[in-house]
């Protein structure tokens, strides 16, 4: 299991969450435009799909899919917990985590 696809699932959740107006207002303090919402939704699904592809490429489809579901649940639960107490930090980590993961993997 590697860190980057793991972090990507978190990013995916953040983007999907921001595409919902209730959460967007809470985090960004403003209503996102319809275009922004579409882009965020696309970005979210893209991140989740990319994570699945990366994981499957590493460990093969059977184990990769299982790992991916495990990562999805783990990041979703941590994101929702963080979101209810520190919404802006929770959203910020959507960008921060993949960068950290990429740096750690490269070093």
């Amino acid at each position: 299991m590697s860190l980057f696809p793991f972090a990507l699932t978190y990013t995916g959740w953040v983007a999907l969450c921001l595409s919902l107006s209730r959460h967007a207002r809470e985090i960004l303090q403003r209503e996102p435009s319809p275009l922004e919402r579409h882009l965020l939704r696309a970005a979210g699904w893209l991140a989740l799909t990319a994570s699945l592809l990366l994981t499957a490429a590493r460990t093969g489809w059977p184990l990769g899919t299982v790992e991916w579901f495990g990562m999805l649940t783990a990041t979703a639960v941590s994101f929702v917990l963080l979101l209810s107490f520190y919404p802006r930090l929770a959203a910020g980590l959507g960008l921060g985590l993949p960068v950290c993961a990429a740096v750690v993997s490269l070093v």
């Binding site: 209730r22 809470e26 299982v66 790992e67 495990g70 999805l72 783990a74 979703a76 979101l83």
Partner: protein, 526 residues
């Protein structure tokens, strides 16, 4: 009509969840612990601290068995791996009958010498409890299977009842009484939904030949053994030659087996009639590198080492069952993946616990109106506290008993189990004599203290404590102690929360939106 359907599903969800909720809670907790069955078994035998896997393990185990049990009709040798680096041998005593027929020993992989470790059921206790509840095996398995069916119903009806599954996907609103409990229940239910469905369904599949025997009966009649031989590739008995024979060197056979399985190791060796000219050596594949949990095996002639039979890749139906079974057992997983499974298991535990508490919280206004607690509600409250806050205590007591009971005590494993159930019984006494809020707090605090004390008691009674194990990077033992500290912290946090707000007494959503950030969300809901 639609409203009527939803309501009837909600009713079904409430009651199918409540009646089996307590058993399911125990099943989920012990099942999640079972992901770490080898590690728990190791920790509960601190004498095995320095064992290491060894390439000569199979050969030295066979040499040891030739010394100890040359006349035995059958030996079983479990080979060491990274998670359980010991050799476990079991052999049939030809002169004994009944349950004493099988003898066990733990061997050092490097030398084959017997290692004297304390007698305990270790992680196997939780593993068996997970599907047998310490009842008579057949009864326990039927009860757990029945509860699993209810769980499937509760999952399906829960999804139907949950009106805004996608809109509320990320929503958890803390500190709002009933609202928060419902949010929490939904979040852990929905976010780990793939796991919940998978684990419940695959759990039923693990015992499908017992729950649904008719297909096998129709084709094989009473001869179930023949079915298992064919379907699962378990080899049949071999006739004796009644001439003495010597076993061949095991090393080349291990390599042959590995070649057959794309490099996977054998995990279990069975030797049939080891001293006979017609002996057989059977090896079973280790499944830790793949999803499927199949019992693929190869059979060699014991004296010549000739390869007699090798089960190929199973047929599609068997393979499907192997994968579903494997998903449930999760033996395939590397340790990060195992922790992800454990996290999802924790989500399941929290889902069941929050569902049970929610039943009580929902009826709080009724209690206020009546001015007393009706019998049914009191019963649920006592069971909730005794099971949800009691089980952590009993698990910790089980581990403490392992360290504190005298080493030479007769029937030591039984006493550990007795300590477990005695502690559980006691956990039901506290909520009977104390008010709910105080009982929740006291039990969680006791559980946190007991878990926090485990590494300390371990350090006082053994040499396998954190001071030693951290320094030598022995992650099985150190990981156990550190996990105990983590669990203690978590339980302490829950106890602290329980003392601030009472789960069952708080009125639902009194204070509207204290912070501006919450305003839009509130408005949307109204």
């Amino acid at each position: 009509m639609k409203e009527g359907f939803r309501q009837s599903m909600a009713w079904l969800h409430t009651w199918s969840g409540l009646v089996v909720g307590w058993i399911l809670f125990a099943v989920f907790v012990t099942g999640t612990l079972s992901y770490f069955r080898p590690e728990i078994s190791q920790w509960m035998r601190p004498e095995l601290r320095d064992m290491q896997p060894h390439p000569q393990a199979a050969a030295s185990a066979i040499a040891a068995l030739q010394q100890r049990a040359p006349d035995s009709p059958r030996w079983f040798i479990r080979l060491p791996d990274a998670r359980e680096p010991i050799v476990r041998v079991t052999w049939r005593d030809p002169n004994a009958t009944g349950p004493r027929r099988f003898q066990n020993a733990v061997l050092d992989p490097a030398t084959g010498a017997e290692v004297k470790a304390r007698d305990t059921r270790g992680g196997d206790f939780f593993y068996r409890f997970h599907f047998e509840l310490s009842m008579k095996p057949i009864w326990g398995r039927w009860v757990v299977g029945c509860c699993a069916m209810f769980m499937l119903i509760a999952i399906v009806t829960g999804v139907i009842t949950h009106k805004k599954i996608f809109k509320d996907f990320f929503t958890f609103r803390p500190k709002k009484g009933q609202r928060s409990w419902l949010d929490a229940h939904n979040v852990v239910g929905v976010l780990a939904l793939p796991y919940h469905v998978m684990i419940t369904y695959s759990g039923l599949v693990t015992l499908m030949f017992m729950y649904m025997p008719w297909g096998v009966q129709a084709n094989y009649g009473q001869n179930r053994a023949a079915f298992f031989d064919q379907a699962l590739g378990v080899s049949a008995e071999t006739p004796l030659a009644n001439r003495p024979g010597a076993l061949t060197n095991i090393e080349p056979l291990l390599l042959t087996a590995q070649r057959h399985w794309d490099g996977a190791n054998p995990s279990l060796i069975t030797v049939h009639n080891p001293a006979d000219a017609n002996s057989r050596i059977e090896m079973r594949r280790d499944n830790s590198d793949r999803l499927a949990h199949s019992s693929q095996s190869v059979v060699f002639a014991g004296t010549t080492g000739e390869l007699l039979a090798a089960a190929g890749e199973p047929m599609p139906a068997t393979r499907t069952r192997d994968v579903v079974y494997g998903l449930h057992m999760a033996n395939f997983s590397s340790s990060p993946l195992r922790w992800l499974f454990a996290l999802s298991g924790l989500a399941g535990i929290l889902m069941i616990a929050s569902g049970l508490v929610l039943w009580s919280v929902k009826r709080a206004p009724e209690r206020v109106k009546l001015g007393r607690v009706p019998f049914g509600q009191r019963l649920v409250e006592v069971l909730n506290i005794g099971v949800i806050a009691g089980l952590p205590i009993t698990i910790a007591v089980f581990f403490h008993a392992n360290r504190l009971l005298p080493i030479g005590l007769a029937e030591r494993p039984t006493w550990e189990v007795r300590a477990f159930f005695a502690a559980w019984l006691l956990s039901f006494v506290v909520p009977l004599i104390r008010p709910a809020k105080a009982a929740w707090k006291a039990q969680f605090l006791a559980a946190a203290t007991l878990f926090g004390a485990l590494p300390v008691v371990n350090a006082l009674t053994t040499d396998a404590h954190l001071g030693v194990t951290l320094a030598s990077r022995n992650w099985v033992y150190a990981g156990f102690d550190l996990t105990c500290l983590g669990i203690a912290a978590l339980l302490g946090l829950i106890a602290w929360h329980a003392s601030r707000t009472s789960a069952t007494q708080r009125k639902p959503a009194r204070n509207k939106a204290e912070t501006p950030a919450n305003l839009p969300a509130e408005a949307e809901r109204a």
